[in-house]
């Protein structure tokens, strides 16, 4: 069950990343025809991210301690000391960015180049940071594996 909780947060995070890229491309071609879709995808990204954050937070508070012990005793202590420690705080910035996305999407993107530029930067930063978080999560998982294999 623990593993399902963990995997669901990864799935939701990747969903958010994919939606951010989708939104980026859609905004590049913003028009009255796709405005509603951009706004819908922005809200969907925010929902996915909030779910990922809450699920991850639950898992982190109640289940991560065991994994942390394994990582710190294994050959990859940096998987916790740097990668988890940075991830748990960088992801808060990601949450803020994704929460902000629907606000930025509420402008008339079809009519305003400035509004589109804001959306492109925000969705671009979301995609970049989400990718980094996915990578950090992979390293943390490898840290657990390395620690277990070393036993």
């Amino acid at each position: 069950m623990n593993e399902l909780i963990l995997m669901s947060h990864v799935l939701l995070g990747v969903t958010c990343l994919i939606l951010a890229v989708w939104i980026f491309v859609d905004v590049l071609h913003a028009s009255e025809a796709n405005l509603a879709r951009i706004r819908l995808m922005s809200r969907a990204a925010a929902v996915a991210m909030w779910l990922a954050f809450v699920i991850a937070g639950y898992w982190y508070v109640f289940f991560y301690k065991a994994d942390k012990t394994v990582i710190l005793k294994g050959p990859w202590p940096f998987a916790h000391n740097f990668f988890m420690e940075t991830k748990e705080h960088l992801v808060i910035m990601l949450l803020l960015l994704v929460t902000y996305l629907p606000i930025a999407a509420s402008n008339n993107l079809a009519a305003s180049k400035d509004a589109r530029r804001v959306m492109l930067w925000v969705s671009g930063m979301i995609a970049f940071i989400a990718m980094a978080m996915d990578g950090e999560g992979g390293i943390i998982a490898m840290g657990v594996k390395a620690g277990l294999l070393a036993k």
Binding site: L96, A104, K113, V118
Partner: protein
């Protein structure tokens, strides 16, 4: 909506986001450097990270609302370029504070 085509909420919450990102980074340094701060944050909610997240989210929402009410409710005026620069700078600085601390300072 002002002439730039971006709403006052886009500006206000954008500024608030930048501010919250920097404060997020500074809070990491504060709680990791001070056992008293860490203990205090732990006691508030049962886990330091939960307290940390809640504080940053409250700052984001609170300042976003506050900035939107500036200038008699018209919100803060800012060009899109300046808003984007502020946003990106806040996110980058916040990230550098966090990564830099754990890489060098911890």
């Amino acid at each position: 909506m002002d002439n730039t085509g971006i709403s006052k909420y886009t500006v206000s919450f954008g500024l608030s986001l930048a501010l919250a990102c920097v404060i997020n980074g500074l809070m990491v340094i504060a709680k990791e450097s001070s056992p008293a701060v860490m203990t205090g944050m732990q006691k508030l909610s049962g886990h330091h990270w939960v307290t940390h997240s809640a504080i940053v989210l409250i700052i984001f929402a609170g300042f976003g609302w506050f900035f939107a009410r500036a200038r008699g409710g018209r919100g803060m005026e800012m060009s899109a370029s300046r808003l984007i620069r502020t946003l990106v700078s806040g996110v980058v600085l916040g990230g550098l504070l966090i990564a830099g601390f754990y890489l060098i300072g911890d």
